[in-house]
Amino acid sequence: MTTYIEIALNSLVLGGVFLIVAIGLNIVYGLSRVMNLAHGSLYTLGAYFGFTLVASGVNFFIALILAPILVGVAGLLIERTVISLMRKRSMVYTLILTYGLMFFLDGLVRYIWGNETRFIELPGFMKRTISVAGVNYPVFRLIILFIIAAVMAGLMLLLGKTKTGITMRAASQIPEMVSCLGISMTWVHIGAFVLGCVLAGIAGVVAGPLFTVYPTMGHQMLLSSFVVIVIGGLGSLRGAVMAALLIGLVQNLAEFFITDLAMVIVYMMMAVILAIMPRGLLGEGRFE
């Protein structure tokens, strides 16, 4: 029984990290129609900012706030200098552009921080294990669950209860109408891109101590995020939540029971869902 509790907790942690990255990617796509292939590299950037801050003596929780802000600033620069120029062109342009941007950011990370694997040092109390229903579980992993829950609650509040959030949601549905109301779509696009980058940054800081930090850590995460948004439905936030949790669980169970075929099962599940539910688990996905 304790093993199953441990698997469930592991699934929530893994699914939670996937969720934060994927939801950032989904927001950028849903609100500004940019499929950002450099999203994984922004997640990497968040992890490295987190590492640098903590290594400089900044408290981990302060770094968890500062690093995503720095990634947000980087996102703002990217949006203003590169993405905005391509916005009116077909999506293929932004795909190629962000693909190139991914390599640029990876190279930049390697230039600044080198190739070595880095570990984000945690405060002493977070390195311990705690008994949860008879399972000795790492405290940091439990804290990650709280961080993810807090981020998701904050996001739901922002998008559901604030004027800014409601405007953003409206813009994702009928952008022309929002423009007619005198709201600048440029600001919506900037806001969406920066928000997506901040989420990637949060995921990076959280994943740093969990999976370690290295220059190409974002590539695998980008792939996993795509699986989440394909299964959840492109542009669907609720779908992404369900898909992330599902993938976390399936991957953990598969690794436990049929280790050698774990990733085959995850990708097979994506293919099956894509075939029978092309708009994702909740049928909310959009295709263009």
Binding site: T3, E6, I7, N10, V13, L14, D106, R110, G114, N115, E116, T117, R118, F119, K127, T129, N136, Y137, P138, F140, R141, L210, F211, T212, Y214, P215, T216, M217, Q220, M221, Q251, N252, L253, E255, F256, T259, D260, A262, M263
Partner: protein, 393 residues
């Protein structure tokens, strides 16, 4: 007559001059290492080890050495196309380096077409024994040698003996070979193995929690891992988070990189494994080498760097010995050549083109004061003689 003399003098000056220029044409050696991706740090250490050998050797056949470095990205297809560029476009007369058995085997398959000798300093698969007349291994221990070292090490170490081992490997040619070799040998030596058909994790694995849960559920007290060097500390760190090292010992089929060990800190204590060398080896040659390496590259000397250095020295000396850049002559010179370096005499077998050398069993632990500022050391527990590790010739 005078005009003739002047013309002859001018002609001879031109000929001598051009001869001198030709003599200065560098000997080009293609260096194939991973400089991007998760093993990039290992690739940098390999490159630096080879670079150190080139700087020390200075010339081959009286000509300066030029190293042409290419990033393989540890992808077989990329490595083959980079090798083609090095040989056909840049004029490399030999290839050296290569991380990963998959990449090494892909290059070996193309060696007739490439038409140059290839010496790997890092490929561990046993398939390299006598693979091709132009393919050599001189560097990291092979899987069979590591398995013997680790099994003998387990039997000789009271804290490792009488444990049941869970075997977990990276899912590619080297990992499979390393896992199978260890299990076969361990069972012969009455070491208990929990999973004969060992688990294979994708090389892209970043979250090891489900594997750790599985190991915990198995109730074992030992883990045998065959992971890409730089991933070892990542696994150790996550295992440490779950408190695994409190009850279990980890034995590794590959030596962890010192830079990653540093980053992993306390979580990386208690990893055992057989390897060529550690900076804890104390001999005048070893001490001098590691001092020079540290001064040149400002990083902790690693196993990857030292065995790449030794492999490169054997290759460079073989070309000199061959007195030619002809691949057959270089290959002939490589067979049976030896180099006395930081871990003793490293000889390339004339029988199977692969190296024989002494090695060490190490355990990672907190380092005492040292010139490199390292906090973690691969402490030498015992030394293996080349004959003990084999294979017999």
């Amino acid at each position: 007559m005078k005009r003739w003399l002047v013309a002859m003098l001018a002609l001879s000056l031109i000929l001598v001059g051009s001869g001198a220029w030709a003599a200065q044409d560098p000997i080009k050696i293609g260096v194939l290492v991973p400089l991007s991706g998760i093993v990039a740090q290992g690739g940098v250490e390999m490159r630096d080890g080879i670079d150190m050998a080139a700087k020390e050797k200075k010339t081959i056949l009286g000509r300066p050495i030029e190293l042409l470095v290419e990033d393989t990205q540890i992808k077989p297809d990329v490595a083959v196309s980079k090798a083609e560029k090095l040989v056909f476009k840049d004029g490399a007369i030999a290839l050296i380096g290569v991380f990963s058995s998959g990449v090494g085997l892909a290059l070996a398959k193309n060696i007739d077409r490439l038409g140059v000798p290839f010496l790997t300093t890092h490929v561990m698969t046993t398939e390299f024994y006598g693979l091709h007349k132009w393919v050599f291994r001189c560097g990291q221990l092979a899987n069979d040698q590591t398995a013997i070292g680790n099994v003998n090490g387990i039997l000789a170490t009271p804290t490792l003996k009488d444990r049941t081992y869970y075997v977990l490997v990276h899912d590619y040619a080297w990992g499979h070979d390393a896992g199978a070799r260890f299990i076969a040998l361990a069972k012969k030596s009455n070491i208990k193995i929990y999973n004969d058909s060992f688990d294979k994790a994708p090389t892209s694995t970043t979250d090891w929690s489900s594997y750790i849960s599985k190991i915990k559920a198995a109730g074992v007290d030992g883990i045998y891992i065959a992971f890409i060097t730089n991933v070892i500390p990542v696994f150790a760190k996550q295992a440490f988070d779950f408190g695994l090292q409190k009850t279990m010992k980890i034995v590794s089929a590959a030596a962890p990189g010192p830079v990653e060990l540093e980053a992993g800190g306390e979580a990386c204590y208690g990893i055992f494994g057989a390897s060529d060398w550690s900076w804890d080896v104390n001999s005048p040659t070893s001490d001098a080498w590691e001092k020079k390496y540290f001064e040149t590259y400002k990083t902790i000397p690693s196993d990857a760097a030292v065995h790449s250095y030794v492999g490169a020295m054997n290759l460079f000396n073989a070309i000199d010995k061959a007195g030619s850049t002809d691949p057959d002559k270089i290959a002939q010179a490589l067979r049976g050549i030896s180099f006395d370096g930081p871990y003793g005499t490293v000889r390339i077998s004339a029988k199977d083109n692969c190296a024989r050398n002494d090695a060490v069993l190490t355990e990672t632990m907190a380092a005492s004061s040292n010139p490199y500022g390292a906090k973690v050391v691969m402490k030498v527990l015992r030394t293996f003689k080349a004959d003990e590790l084999g294979p017999p010739e």
